[in-house]
């Protein structure tokens, strides 16, 4: 009994102490404190990738050097909870001062008037949108109103395992390759009994078959985002070609790639080739197994062109922020050349500001990262510019997984997707 009482007392006092600590820490941040002549203000900047946090904080520090009265607090919320949180914060008027925006979510927040338009500032020449590729700017523009400043962009590349190629005496992929060659080499490099496959023909859109469809002359959404391109013959043909690799045992099956992520397979040296995004280079490089043994090549050519998807995160600000002038200053800085250079040098992402990409490429001199930059110009923008995007994108994965898993034919799957997409676009009007 006595021991128990002492323990209880000990725990109680420990808790009291932490309670004090807890109470104290809830009185900081978010406010304006008087520090002599100028009011010191703290604004919030929310992102979803913790890996980029160091770079974002470096940018924040550089900004505060130039604006000593404005401090920036960088918070990283994991992607899984990011939009749940934003969708709860938006109607409550509690969005962060500045935060990352994704093309697919953009319309909902812009049309709901949760994002502060920056058009007048653009027209007053406070910021020059010509510094960024036009297809990136357009992602964050509606009806002529600008809401966001492009932060970075990403494209897709072909990652390949040099060792597997060397062992089979096959020359590495280069820019002469087309899809037929890809399939052929994938088959040659496959040794299913050893668990090694030539290509990861996975169920993926941006880093997967969207590129195939574009290369073959098909499309995902038409230019004004009113009609799906999945049921185009060219699209279906491209999808079938990718699936064929599974049937030819040049790629693991969908079930196998469900059990084990194909990127992990590549990182373990079990796949000779895989499409992957520029954002994932850090992940691939972290593998001790393939470090120094892989490189990047451009995507293969299709019948019509070289397909690629370009996408970019944008920085936006909230309409209901308490320090909008300061937030704008920071937003402007985020779009500056200096911020872009910090992003590139720290290898966080490929900055959107024109002609700053070299530093990102030079970050890894033994890898051919230039392919990502080179393919940007001809890349198709990520098809996210419609209100129905959250619905059709999610449902597309479900329908295509049935096809990829062999439950329905590829053609049937593609047609179902097209029907679903068109319906979703209708419903969102």
């Amino acid at each position: 009994m006595n021991i128990r009482k002492k323990m209880a007392a000990g725990i109680a006092s420990l808790l009291l102490v932490t309670l004090m600590a807890g109470c104290n820490s809830s009185n900081d941040g978010g406010g304006a404190t008087d520090s002599g002549a100028q009011k010191s203000v703290t604004i919030s900047y929310t992102i979803w990738d913790k890996n980029q946090q160091p770079a974002m904080e470096a940018i924040a520090d550089a900004f505060t050097e130039q604006h000593p009265n404005i401090k920036v607090k960088v918070d990283a919320i994991p992607w899984g909870e990011y939009w749940t949180k934003m969708s709860a914060a938006a109607p409550a008027g509690m969005l962060p001062d500045v935060f990352w925006m994704h093309g697919g979510q953009f319309m909902k927040y812009a049309e709901g008037q949760f994002l502060e338009p920056i058009t007048d500032k653009v027209q007053a020449n406070e910021i020059d949108l010509n510094n960024y590729a036009s297809n990136l700017v357009s992602i964050y523009t509606i009806d002529g109103q600008n809401y966001g400043i492009p932060k970075d962009f990403d494209t897709i590349g072909l990652a390949y395992n040099k060792e597997l190629f060397d062992q089979a005496n096959i020359p590495y992929p280069d820019d002469t390759w087309d899809y037929a060659k890809l399939a052929e080499v994938a088959k040659q490099l496959s040794q299913p009994d050893k668990g090694i496959y030539g290509f990861g023909a996975k169920l993926d859109t941006q880093a997967g078959y969207w590129n195939d469809m574009l290369a073959n002359g098909g499309f995902i959404l038409n230019d004004d985002m009113t009609k799906s391109g999945y049921d185009e013959l060219a699209s279906i043909e491209a999808l079938k070609a990718r699936y064929q690799m599974i049937l030819d045992k040049a790629s693991p099956t969908h079930q196998q790639m469900t059990d084990t992520d194909s990127v992990e397979m590549f990182k373990s040296g079990k796949l000779a080739m895989i499409f992957d995004g520029s954002w994932d280079n850090g992940n691939l490089a972290s593998s001790e197994i393939i470090k120094g043994k892989y490189d990047w090549a451009p995507l293969p050519k299709g019948k019509v062109k070289r397909g690629n998807i370009i996408n970019g995160i944008g920085n936006v600000m909230s309409t209901k922020g308490k320090h909008k002038d300061e937030a704008w200053q920071f937003l402007k800085f985020l779009g500056s050349k200096e911020a872009a250079e910090i992003t590139a040098e720290m290898g966080a992402a490929i900055p959107a500001f024109n002609n700053t990409q070299d530093a990102w490429v030079k970050n890894n001199p033994d890898l051919n990262l230039q392919v990502f930059i080179d393919q940007a110009a001809d890349a198709t923008p990520y098809p996210s510019g419609s209100k129905s995007y959250p619905v059709w994108f999610s449902k597309e994965a479900e329908i295509m997984s049935q096809a990829w898993g062999g439950a329905i034919s590829i053609e049937e799957g593609a047609k179902k997707v097209a029907e679903m997409m068109n319906q979703a676009i209708e419903d969102a009007k």
Binding site: L14, L15, T18, L19, A21, G22, C23, S25, S26, G29, G30, S44, T46, W48, D49, K50, N51, K73, D75, A76, I77, P78, W79, G80, E81, T84, K85, S87, A88, A89, P91, A92, G93, M94, P96, G195, T260, E264, M265, K267, S268, K270, W279, D280, G282, N283, S286, S287, E288, I289
Partner: protein, 278 residues
């Protein structure tokens, strides 16, 4: 004589074997968690899967602790757990007694209202509660971590079941002595349920400790997060550092395990629904 003894030994042995088999299944993911925390990032996800780390290292633990807000996570978790355990236990015990022993008008309706909350999935409450927090100015505070959870329908239900099982004679004697219900509750019933309260405390602690979604939604700054939520932020879209994540998860769990080990006997004793002690 010897035959009886050896058959008891045999049946005990069989019992042990079955329990051990079950225990192996129970412990597997936990073991995996620990093993992963000692591996390198590559080892954690490579194929074919590695079971043991080639060179066990504590790097995962070091990096987890280096997370600048780790101590904050711990402090916040402790405080939130304390609030979400103390108050619900007290409030639930009082309410459970009233529901079990006093036939008051509206008893059924009130009880039903309280336990019907359990029938709705948690995410349903997030947006309305976020709105309430913002109106109260409590977004991104440590207070927001616990203020909605000062009540526990589950504990109320559990304790009510327990109170129902206590014999009426004691209570009737106290009533004759002129005690009011609260006195009966405080001086007679509560002592009888000490162990049940321990059970509820452990359950509430566990839930509070593990809660991850609500803290992430209502708070943004790392210093305002709890352990589970803070660890969740380590999950990046690409290339999660699993050893760090698992090391953090393991360190988060240790206090709960120790606590449970100390109190597990009381926990069992506590949740007995039929009063053998009269």
């Amino acid at each position: 004589m010897s035959r009886v003894v050896s058959s008891k030994h045999r049946s005990n042995l069989i019992i042990h074997l079955v329990l051990i088999a079950g225990a192996a299944v129970m412990v597997l993911p936990f073991l995996w968690m620990i093993l992963t925390s000692l591996k390198t990032t590559t080892e954690a996800t490579q194929i074919p899967i590695t079971i043991l780390p080639a060179e066990p290292s504590l790097r995962g633990y070091v990096d987890a602790l280096r997370q600048s807000a780790f101590l904050h996570y711990y402090a916040n978790t402790l405080m939130a757990a304390f609030m979400k355990t103390l108050f619900p236990v007290v409030f639930s015990a009082m309410a459970a007694f009233a529901f079990a022993r006093i036939r008051f008008p509206g008893r059924g309706l009130c009880f039903f209202l309280i336990i019907s909350v359990m029938m709705i999935p948690n995410p349903v409450f997030y947006t309305p509660q976020y709105l309430m927090m913002s109106k109260l100015g409590l977004v991104n505070t440590t207070t927001a971590l616990w203020i909605t959870s000062l009540v526990s329908p589950f504990a109320t239900f559990l304790l009510r079941q327990f109170f129902l099982g206590i014999s009426k004679e004691l209570e009737e004697a106290a009533v004759l002595d002129g005690c009011n219900p609260f006195q009966i509750f405080r001086y007679i019933m509560l002592p009888l349920v000490k162990s049940a309260l321990v059970a509820v405390v452990i359950i509430q602690l566990l839930w509070s400790w593990n809660e991850l979604q609500w803290p992430l939604i209502i708070n943004s700054s790392p210093e305002k997060l709890t352990l589970s939520a803070g660890l969740a932020t380590l999950v990046s879209m690409f290339g999660t550092d699993y050893p760090v994540l698992m090391a953090g998860a393991f360190m988060a769990v240790i206090p709960m395990l120790i606590l449970f080990f100390i109190f597990q006997r009381r926990f069992i004793e506590g949740v007995a629904f039929s009063a053998s002690k009269g």
